[in-house]
Symmetry: C2
Subunit: 355 residues, 2 copies
């Protein structure tokens, strides 16, 4: 493997000094980029793009070529590859979100749920990781990722991304044993999946708990966070002690103290959370990643500058901050606004990293 | 006006002693009730039901007749009656949420925005309040309500209920002057509207900030909360000092301390927030209303009992808690589950109100 030429992202995750605040963006390879849209067209559709390691490598590198100020790359893939490999039949209906052909509703199907053979069923992801690492030639670190068991289970049980989660919550409070069985099986699958990504060369991992915020505090502590903790401890036991990890519960800003306890190096923050207040609460335990509202990128350059500075000011002096959006970049973003954001982060943040 | 036979809801809002924890439900008159569906069918559609004071009175009283353990009633109406009266053309497409025929996008339309003549344009709501008060014969207090200016503005600018609010956020960060003009005008409209409801007899008011949680903390403090504060102070200046008020920002659990400062008697809590922690933070300033996840009502009776008790335990000893859901009841709720919830609140809460 080529030595990393820029390891500031990894240093910040460990709260070690860096000359400026490193930055990357959730969904940085995506529909807002014309070059991404061209590659996706070549692939046919989103899922075919995910399943083609050559094209996944191509789109992973696109934002790095366009934006030299990015300090990390992230594997181009989707959190739903895992339940797809578990046999649920992922598909994307045009103009709609992801759906499953065979959602998990019946006890008999839940009991039959199997952990996928990562080396075979998810070979295309692992191949993509190897190819991307090679193509990067050590320019910046590569982030691997997976969905949290709770978040994957919401899609598996609801059959699609939801807004009210009534089906899975009904299961959670009527047959918690069934839901816990799904969560345990998914936890094992995600663990093996992330381990394989690490073996193939990713430099850090991130667990996306996109729907953890739909739960009550008690529900979060029963159905989401403990399974994230198990994944992180199992990965450590499997010998991946040096790989830094980020966990991100969208809508979970009320529960940062709980999140800081599970063994991750960093917490992702959505834009609801004041990053300065978050640092006061948990900054002695973890690094923080975030948290510009992606909608800001649709406004004018001066507003982008102002809001970026306000987040950097709020975090304040010292290391342990990775700048990012508070959620994935939207497809309506003018690509030149990203330049404004990156330039502001790079220039304005240096004052916070002086000795 | 008939004297109130049960004023525990009002006493709890003022944190005065009551023999048990009073309870009502957001959207307690609604589609989960067969009698509501029958009346709605008679009306033709949702909007015609809102605009017919006789039928609005009928559905407001339906849950009270079915559930004698309810401690408050709430005007049957919709927060979007105000922008409708401002000329935006509210309509409900079958199977979809509310929409506006003429969303506010252009500066020229925004500058022309007018405060409605409540006595004329919203006469049907004020008539409904008078009729409901009469029909109630003092059984329980009647709650009047309105949407917060920010929440109304999201519908007015987006043209419908959204999930990403990109149009209004783009306006907020590109032309804040235009958004503030909409918010100021709407604040004046809501003030006059709530004042008219109070004059017609409501015993308490509630302001629904359903989309305040879509903002960042700074955004909330600029675009949502100050306008709620202006409404509450203006109402007081208009002579409504004795009317207790509740404000509810869905997804606003991170900002309770800010909310407690604006002069409301109580804060509504969604189910993300731990009510015991909320009480520790702001319980010396305000009463708290909430906060059962409405999805719990879809599960089994034992789970409903357990979760209701857990919320009552978490709030603990003493007055100042109004039991409610953390959001509106869903249409899929079996009506008998509401009985379980109400019975548990009434019986289990008495131990917390002993001298």
């Amino acid at each position: 493997m080529a030595t990393l030429q820029n390891n500031y992202f990894l240093k910040a995750l460990r709260r070690e000094p860096t000359p400026y605040t490193p930055v990357w963006m959730m969904r940085q390879a995506g529909r807002y980029l014309p070059e991404y849209r061209a590659t996706r067209k070549k692939a046919g559709d989103f899922l075919s793009l995910c399943k083609n390691p050559d094209l996944a490598t191509e789109v992973t590198l696109q934002p790095l070529d366009r934006y030299p100020l990015l300090d990390a790359s992230i594997l181009f893939s989707d959190i739903l590859t895992v339940p797809d490999a578990m046999g649920l039949g992922l598909y994307f209906a045009e103009g709609e979100g992801p759906k499953f052909e065979r959602p998990l509703r019946e006890e008999i199907d839940i009991q039959k749920l199997k952990i996928p053979d990562v080396a075979y069923d998810l070979k295309y992801v692992i191949d993509a990781v190897s190819q991307i690492k090679k193509a990067l030639q050590g320019r910046v670190p590569l982030i691997g990722f997976a969905g949290s068991p709770w978040t994957l289970a919401t899609y598996m049980v609801e059959g699609q991304g939801g807004t009210d989660f009534l089906t899975i919550k009904k299961m959670a409070y009527t047959r918690p044993d069934l839901l816990h069985h799904i969560l345990k099986t998914t936890t094992e699958a995600v663990t093996q999946y992330l381990h394989a990504q690490i073996e193939a060369g990713v430099d850090a991992i991130m667990i996306f708990d996109s729907w953890g915020g739909a739960l009550s505090h008690q529900g979060y502590l029963e159905f989401s966070l403990p399974y994230i903790k198990v994944i992180l401890s199992n990965l450590k036991m499997m010998g991946n002690k040096k790989i830094p990890s980020i966990i991100f519960t969208k809508g979970g800003g009320l529960w940062l103290q709980d999140q800081a306890e599970v063994g991750a190096h960093a917490l992702g923050l959505d834009w609801q959370t004041d990053i300065g207040m978050a640092r006061q609460k948990v900054g002695h335990q973890v690094a923080l990643q975030g948290n510009l509202d992606p909608a800001i990128l649709l406004s004018k350059p001066e507003a982008v500058e102002k809001e970026v500075k306000s987040i950097l000011d709020s975090y304040g002096q010292g290391s342990g901050h990775i700048f990012n959006l508070g959620h994935g970049i939207t497809e309506h973003t003018p690509p030149e606004q990203v330049d404004v954001m990156l330039k502001t982060v790079r220039e304005y943040s240096q004052q916070f990293h002086m000795k």
